[in-house]
Structures are given as C-alpha cells and as structure tokens.
Symmetry: C2
Subunit: 376 residues, 2 copies
DNA sequence: CTACGTTATTTCCACTATAGAAATAACACA
DNA sequence: TGTGTTATTTCTATAGTGGAAATAACGTAG
C-alpha cells in the first residue's frame, strides 16, 4: 500500500475524470472522452498529473483481441488510500477499513460505553485503532440514523437522544483527519450508487430492511435529499390497513410490516415463543401457518411498496439492502406478484437488485460518503 | 411584435444565460453571474449578441432605492417570438398562441374530423390558422395523452387508437416550422416548472385532475421521465380499498377517486340524476349527503396521494393543476388533514400550489415544450 | 523478418473563453 | 458640484480546449 500524498485537492475537470474512473472501473481514455465530452488531447493532459501522483494507474489491458494498438484502460489505484467507515447504533460502534472503492478490509464492533457525545467519540476512536489506526487514512465517514446537516452536524438522532451535536467537529479534533457525518440511509444509498449493486445506474430507489425500514432515492445520477431526510418518511409508508402498529402508531406502515423486530414480534404473538428472523423465514417455508401469514403479508407489503415507489418516484430499479433482505430471496414470487398488481401491465417490470452483504452495507456506506467527499 | 431572426442556434453558455433570464424574469447581471458561476465580464460578453439580436432587452429598472449605480436588469423580449401550443383530446384540437414565456394570446377549439393521422394533422393546421397563422412562429408544440418518443413519435395514444405515428414528421412537412411532440402531463409539468406556479422550484411533483389523473415529477431542476412515462402510472395509485373501480379495474385508485368523470359517475348513483362537477362540489358544500360522501372521500384520497408523493418522491412542493382543482380549493382543510395523517409530524408541511388556469394549462404546456426546445 | 494497415495515445499549437484589473457609468447625497 | 458607492464595460493576460500531426503498439500479409 503506497501512501499517495495528494498535494492539492482535485478541482474541475480533473475531479470529474477521477470520479468517472473511480465509479466506472477500468475505462479507456476514448470511453472517458465520450462520457465527459472531452477530446483525447484533454484526456491525456488531465490524466497525466493523476497518474504521476499515483491516484490513477494503467490497468492491465483487457484480453479482447482486435486490430490496431491495444487499449490501455485507466483505473484508480484502489490501495493508494484508506478510508474508515463507522455506523453508529444505539448500542454499538461498527467500524470498517476500506480501500478507495469501499471494499472492506478490517472490521470491528465495539460496545458503546454510553450515549454522551464524548463517550461516543472515544468509542469511535477506539474502533478506528481496532481497524488499523489512522495511518494512511484519507478520511473517515460516520453515519447515524437521524437528521444530519452540513456533513458534520447531528441535528437529531433519537436513538442516541441527541439534538444538535457537532459530531464532525468533535471527531476531527480527536482524529485530525477529515470527517464526514451523514444519515445512514443516505450513505448506504450513496455506496450502492458509486460502488455497490447499483453502480452506474442513474435512477433508482433503495429500500433497507433491518431494525427499521429505510428509503433512499437517486435521480438524475444524484442523491435526492431535503430537509426531511433522516426522518424516515419512506419507512412509515402505509401498506396494509389491517396490519400491526409501528412504534409511532402507524397501522400497517412499512416499518410495521417489514422490519425485523416487528415481524418477529408479530410471529411471537401467534407462536407463543421467541423466534429469530431466519428461523421465522424457515418456518414460513416449512408451512407453519403463523409464520407463513406474517412472512406472506410482509412479502406482499414489500411488493406494494416497491410498486408505489416505482410509480411515484418514477424509477425502474429498486435496490434492497440491509439485514432483512432474506425476505426478498425467500419470497420473491410473492413480492413480484404484489408489485405487478399495483403496476400497469404495459410498464416495464421493476428491476429488483438485492444487496446481500447484510449489516456490513451500513458501514460500507459510511466509508463511501468519506470517499465521495474527497472527490467533490 | 418584432420578428427577431435568430441567425444561429444558441449554444453553450449563451444558451444557459438566455434560459436563466427566460425563467427568472428580469434579473441583474450580478445575480446571473452568481447563478451561472460567471464573472461580470463574461456576462457582458455573452449578453451583448443576445441584446443585439433582440432576444434580450434591458428591463426597466426596479424602484428599489439604494446606494450606488442602479441595477439594469436583463429580461427576455417576450414578444420577439411566437409559439403555438396544441393539446389533442379524443374529440377536439385545443390550440393557443403564446409569447416567449408561454403567456396566452389567441385560443381556439376545433372538433376533430377523425382519428386518422392525416385528419388530425389537417385539423391542427386549421387550428394554427385560427390562432393567427404561422407568421413569426418559432416552433409549435403538440401534446397527447400517451407515450411519445424523441419529441416527435407517438408510440402509443390509446385515446386516438394510435401506435407508432410520426406526428412530428407529418406536422413538420405540413407547417415547415420545428415541431415538438410530447406527452401532455410531461409538457404541463414543464410549463409549471419554467413559466408557471412552480417557476424556479427545483423539486416538485404535479398532480393533474381532470378527465383522468396525471402525475409529473421534477427533481434536481430537471423533469423525470423514463420509458414508462405516458402510461399514467401515477394516475392509478391505490388510495382507497373501498373505492369504486376505474376503467382499468383498479379499485379506489387515484383516477377512480379523483377524476371528474369518476366523481360525477359515483354521485350519479346516489343522486339518481346527472350532475356537473361544479354542481357536485356545490352540493357537497351545501350538505347533500351523497355529494359530501363522494367529494369528501375524494378529498381524503387526494390528501393521501399528496402525502405518498411527498414521502416517496421526496418533494416538499406539490402542484395541482387541471380542470378539477376546484376540489382543492373547496376541500383544502380535509385534504391537508388526510395528508398530515400519512406524514411524519416533524416533517415540514407539504407546500401545495394550485394552478387555477384550468384546461388552458394543457395547451400552455404544449407551447412550453416548444419554447424549451428552442433553448436546449 | 519486414513493411504496412489499424487503432490508441501523445505532442504540438492555434484559438477561444474566461476572469482580473482598471476604467467608466449612473446614481444618492452632502 | 464633488464624493462615495455600486453596476457594468473595456482591456488584456492566461488557462483550458480541441484539431492536426506525430508517435506508439500492436496484428497481419507478404
């Protein structure tokens, strides 16, 4: 791992070029020229300094045999920089070390010693040491479930009891590297967009299924955010007027129908015992009537949510991510059936992409926003 | 009206500047510089030729008294060009003549003599004569309810029985001016975005209420369109499981609950007589139980649709347009109440903008896409 | 084994768009 | 009438751009 010292921040067209190579993997100069609308000459001029400083490298030429001089695609030197991604939950700090494409290296989980900002900061610092320390780290991203402003300020994070905490400032003081704080769903969406299963797709929505239900949106190749982002509006979408209640009193909303705790709690009522999520899905597959009912209505709800999203957000691709995507794998036909029912038969079928990386997707998202910040 | 002959099409930064002035009305050079990221010197250089050719003019200085040299805002010469907008329905051609900001001049309605492309083209040509002929017309926009490709090709227009008709080509041959064909809802959305009630707003959705229910979306200052645009996906959003059926068999979808024909048909069942839309709204206000039921559930459905749109499309502004917006004016409290119920109490209230121009909004939309095409 | 065709990439160079600085313009107010 | 203040234009050096030609790196045909 070479530590490339970036003398000055990327700017203008050079930044665009680096971003394009970062996202679209090994890519020839001619293809880059087409995408960015630049001439070959300009491409050479712009890529030269980036090659010199080690950010870009000549990729091994592809095996495609054709006439003429072989192409020499450009690629980013993924190991030239390290990033750290941290996902905060109510009880734990989950940290990962990644390369320039948010590929995971070391991971660690640390119990939160408390909810005081100073305690959380200390825990995060400990976690960064666990995943390899700050050596060669370009930036660190931290995500929370809640509203975040200006990439550093936690406006509101109910699960920590925070309101107006300058987490970015505190961490920057403690670590001395650039810190990016972001909402967890926004960050996960960004990771899918640049590095994940939706890489290169310009319009899509993300649904996360886990402790809650999250909703993220990318339109025109840019994430959609507004002042309500972080409130989880897409997570309480009404889906089933006969469903159970969520913690905020919505009957049959997406969280009530789809979140892991809600599903297992529903199952517990009928089964009269505790079940885990995977066990619940297994039971449903095995024909247990209670489990089949809970899982089946969750699947149908997910289908309806997918259709509603495709219709109103005008996307044709939906990414499913989080710990609870097992539902999608096990119940895909039912989901598709419910989705089709709420969609015009002449419309193209919604493309459903499932990110099966589970909980690590959250920390990867945190790293992704740190990476993005250094290319913006 | 001076006919400015545009020697060559606008290009690059000059086009951006003209577009900015067109949309943001009289605007000072300094404000333009801020918005476009250009220096005052560049502003002068770019605006010079546009002033010379008559597209831009120095606006009368505003009355704001302040220190220093008064600003001399730039504005477009709205009368320097004419455009024609045509909205096709199953039975009529509705045509308007507009200026550069899609302000209406002459209007006319002509009965369609038939659904054959040649007949429709002939009727459109007659309509253009009615609204003043082709003198000084820069471009003409035509909209249909259906799917349109490449701004000229009608892929699918069920109300005319068309599939794959090169309406743009036929009209261009007949009229000799640039022709833009577009989906009616997309065009109406574009008109609200550039010239209408949502002028300058970067993220909003449009709901049209009329013979059907239409749905348009603008995100990141750009319309959202995809291959399904024109199918009316937002127009059949499920809202009330106990509602009536729409023509496509959806129970309680937005068209079934909100469209004018569906509402009056529902009322007819209970009232045992025909009622007009306005009369129905009047009856509801007067306390008639049948009308109150139909109108009340329509209002609640609209509220739910507004909330769903705001949550999933992540917009905070919703524009209501079309002939049926009387519902919004009469029943606003009920709409807002239903909308709030499906939205997080901590979220900002959805801003609802009502375009009361009624049916003419459709033809204005057609003109708007013609105008936009000459600035793209 | 060499010359040639083909395509990718780089080098060279003229040109254009840009912004900074200075100049000028247009007011209010003293 | 002069001065302060802000808006706009003019002048000019410069950075960024793309076209054309040169060079590079192959495969292939002779």
């Amino acid at each position: 791992m070479t530590t490339a010292h970036r003398s000055d921040a990327l700017t203008g067209p050079a930044r665009d070029l680096a971003r394009e190579v970062l996202i679209h993997g090994p890519i020839t100069r001619s293809e880059l020229g087409r995408r960015l609308g630049l001439s070959p000459a300009t491409l050479t001029r712009l890529s030269k300094p980036l090659l010199d400083e080690g950010l870009l490298v000549d990729a091994p030429e592809t095996i495609e045999r054709s006439i003429g001089r072989p192409v020499r695609p450009l690629d980013v030197s993924v190991d030239s920089q390290r990033f750290i991604g941290v996902k905060l939950t109510a009880g734990e700090v989950f940290a990962v070390s990644t390369d320039l494409r948010a590929n995971l290296g070391a991971e660690c989980v640390i119990e939160l010693s408390g909810h005081e900002p100073s305690q959380v900061v200390a825990d995060i610092v400990r976690a960064t040491v666990e995943v390899g320390g700050m050596g060669g780290v370009t930036a660190i991203g931290v995500t929370v479930g809640g509203q975040v402003g200006r990439s550093r300020w936690v406006e509101r994070a109910p699960f920590l009891g925070w309101k107006g905490v300058d987490l970015g400032g505190l961490l920057h003081d403690a670590l001395g590297v650039p810190v990016v704080v972001e909402n967890d769903v926004v960050a996960l969406t960004a990771a899918e967009h640049w590095f994940g299963i939706a890489k290169g797709i310009e319009d899509f929505a993300v649904l996360t299924i886990g402790a809650g239900v999250g909703y993220g949106l990318v339109i025109h190749d840019r994430p959609v955010v507004n002042s309500d982002t972080g409130l989880g509006l897409g997570g309480h979408f009404p889906l089933d007027p006969t469903g159970p209640l969520c913690a905020e009193g919505h009957r049959g909303c997406s969280t009530a129908m789809l979140s892991i705790p809600s599903m297992t709690a529903s199952a517990r009522v009928g089964l009269a015992r505790d079940v885990g999520y995977t066990e619940l899905l297994d039971l449903a597959d095995a024909g247990d009537p209670v489990a089949a009912q809970v899982v089946g209505s969750a699947a149908r709800s997910l289908g309806r949510l997918i259709a509603a999203t495709a219709n109103l957000a005008m996307v044709q691709t939906i990414v499913l991510s989080g710990e609870g995507v097992g539902l999608a794998d096990r119940q895909l036909p039912r989901i598709l059936e419910a989705s089709r029912a709420d969609r015009d038969p002449d419309a193209v079928p919604v493309r459903i992409l499932v990110d099966r990386s589970g909980f690590t997707a959250w920390a990867r998202g945190a790293a992704a926003v740190a990476i993005q910040a250094s290319f913006a």
